[in-house]
């Protein structure tokens, strides 16, 4: 297995520690007086998304992580899982609800996502920041309640429930932020 020596450390490098893939998201090179160089790294756990600090001393090495990222289309739900297909080689991958995270609520069949694969196993997926989804159900708009600051729950075609302005009706298309689950704006139907 390839490994990186401290002098190859740089931002963006993907490494593994005890079998867990991490990405170096920040690195501070520090060299005291006549002492050995220290590499103060911020490491992002590519499975959990958490960030930890770790200091390396000159001469250490970390195992490289075989992590790749590619565009994959969301196909369908299978039990508790989500099935994606690599757009290049049509290979299919199944991810758990945990791996897909909150964005899973907004996945619509055919949506292109970024799939992250470690040692041929999918470990995460990044949905587009914004998706356009149709409103499947909401309470009708009541007269005099059209101010934009009044919100009501709406159910989207993927089954997700979000808060949207009171003027939204069944059949409207909404632009939604998949990271926060926030309504952004009413949109035209996607082409």
């Amino acid at each position: 297995m390839a490994s990186y020596n401290t002098n190859e450390f740089r931002k963006g490098l993907k490494v593994q520690i005890d079998g867990v893939p991490f990405q170096i998201i920040e690195m501070n090179f520090r060299k005291p007086g006549k002492g050995a160089a220290l590499y103060e790294c911020k490491l992002k756990n590519l499975i959990r998304g958490t960030v930890t600090d770790k200091t390396y001393r000159a001469g250490q090495s970390i195992e490289a992580a075989d992590v790749s990222e590619f565009t994959a289309q969301y196909l369908y739900r299978q039990g508790a899982g989500f099935v994606f297909m690599n757009n290049e080689d049509y290979e299919q991958y199944e991810l758990s609800e945990d791996q897909v995270g909150d964005a899973g609520r907004f996945l619509k069949e055919g949506l292109d996502c970024q799939l992250i694969v470690f040692n041929d196993n999918p470990i995460g997926v990044t949905a587009p920041n914004h998706v356009i989804l149709q409103v499947e159900y909401c309470e009708p708009t009541t007269k005099g309640n059209t101010a934009t600051n009044v919100q009501k729950p709406v159910k989207l075609e993927t089954g997700a429930e979000i808060l949207a302005p009171a003027f939204i009706n069944i059949g409207d298309w909404l632009r939604v932020d998949t990271r926060t689950g926030d309504y952004i704006e009413r949109s035209k139907a996607p082409e």
Binding site: T6, F29, K34, G35, A36, R57, G59
Partner: protein, 306 residues
């Protein structure tokens, strides 16, 4: 080129001010090889090899030969090269200001450095702190009398992130970790601060002497401003046999770490055998000086190219 032209203008003014300072103090500007067949081996500095020669990690070797040849006060503003050093305060190629004056001991060398700092950066008088006092104050432990175990315990008490490949029985490793994380960031906060009297084990090319309090110290000093190490100076070791011994130990330590030994600087050892006068020398990182003068956070912002 990605820096504002005003930064480069200021950099040029700083270079001119440095030259003026040295000329006013009767120094002669010299030039020495950047590429040479010998280096002065250091444990934690790697020179860059080019065509059976080395890009020099500092101009020390040749400048000392000029002092030994009879030049009483010399300075140089040149480039130096250190493999693998890249960060906010490092670049593998950097500009170094280095000077030597005969007849100076450590305290005279510190005074000259302080005068230079005041003249170039308009700073107040530098405070002077022994390495021992700085350590006691900021790391809460005596660097001269504590064992490697005691230093390790202190590092753990302070919850330092300890690298896996620390040489745990090496006192200097712990001292450097504590220095880097606890001491250095707190130095020179209100005025420049000169730290002196380093542990004898970190003498590098400085004289080692026993102080009145019985502690053996290296007559070495470093200048810090706003937590940044700016300069390193010595009351220069003049004993050729002692230098040969130290460099042989450096090479052994390099090899113990799995790094190559470096050829000894026989030309310098020979010159010292003939006689190197007592002198103090100092090296200053010009990119960091420019960074402080410009108020930038990285040396990259104080250079035209990075």
């Amino acid at each position: 080129m990605h820096q504002s032209l005003a930064h480069l203008q200021r950099r040029s003014e700083l270079l001119a001010a440095l030259r003026l300072f040295f000329f006013e103090h009767d120094f002669v500007e010299v030039e020495t090889p950047l590429l040479a067949p010998e280096v002065i081996p250091e444990l934690h500095i790697d020179p860059i090899a080019v065509e059976a020669a080395w890009l020099q990690a500092s101009p020390e070797l040749h400048m000392k030969r000029l002092v030994a040849a009879g030049m009483p006060a010399i300075f140089q503003i040149t480039r130096s090269f250190r493999a693998g050093e890249r960060g906010a305060l490092h670049n593998p190629e950097f500009t170094i200001v280095e000077w030597y004056r005969t007849g100076d001991d450590m305290h005279a060398g510190m005074k000259l450095l302080d005068q230079l700092c005041q003249a170039i950066l308009n700073t107040p008088v530098a405070s002077q702190t022994t390495y021992g006092a700085a350590f006691s104050q900021h790391a809460g432990i005596c660097p001269h009398t504590s064992s490697a175990d005691q230093l390790a315990t202190r590092a753990k008490e302070l919850r330092l992130d300890i690298p896996d490949n620390m040489q745990v029985d090496d006192r200097d490793e712990w001292l450097n970790l504590l220095l880097a994380t606890q001491v250095e960031p707190r130095l020179g906060q209100t005025a420049p601060e000169i730290v002196y009297d380093y542990p004898a084990s970190q003498a590098a090319l400085a004289k080692v002497e026993r102080r009145e309090d019985g502690i053996k110290v290296a007559r070495r000093f470093e200048l810090y401003a706003s937590g940044i190490e700016l300069a390193n100076g010595y009351d220069e070791l003049t004993d050729a046999a002692e230098l040969r011994l130290r460099l042989t130990q450096v090479n052994a330590a390099r090899q113990a770490e799995g790094r190559p030994a470096l050829p000894l600087p026989e030309s310098l050892l020979e010159a010292m055998q003939q006689g190197l006068p007592n002198c103090s020398g100092c090296a200053l990182g010009f990119d960091r000086l420019a960074m402080l003068a410009l108020g930038t956070d990285t040396i990259a912002e104080a250079r035209a190219f990075y």
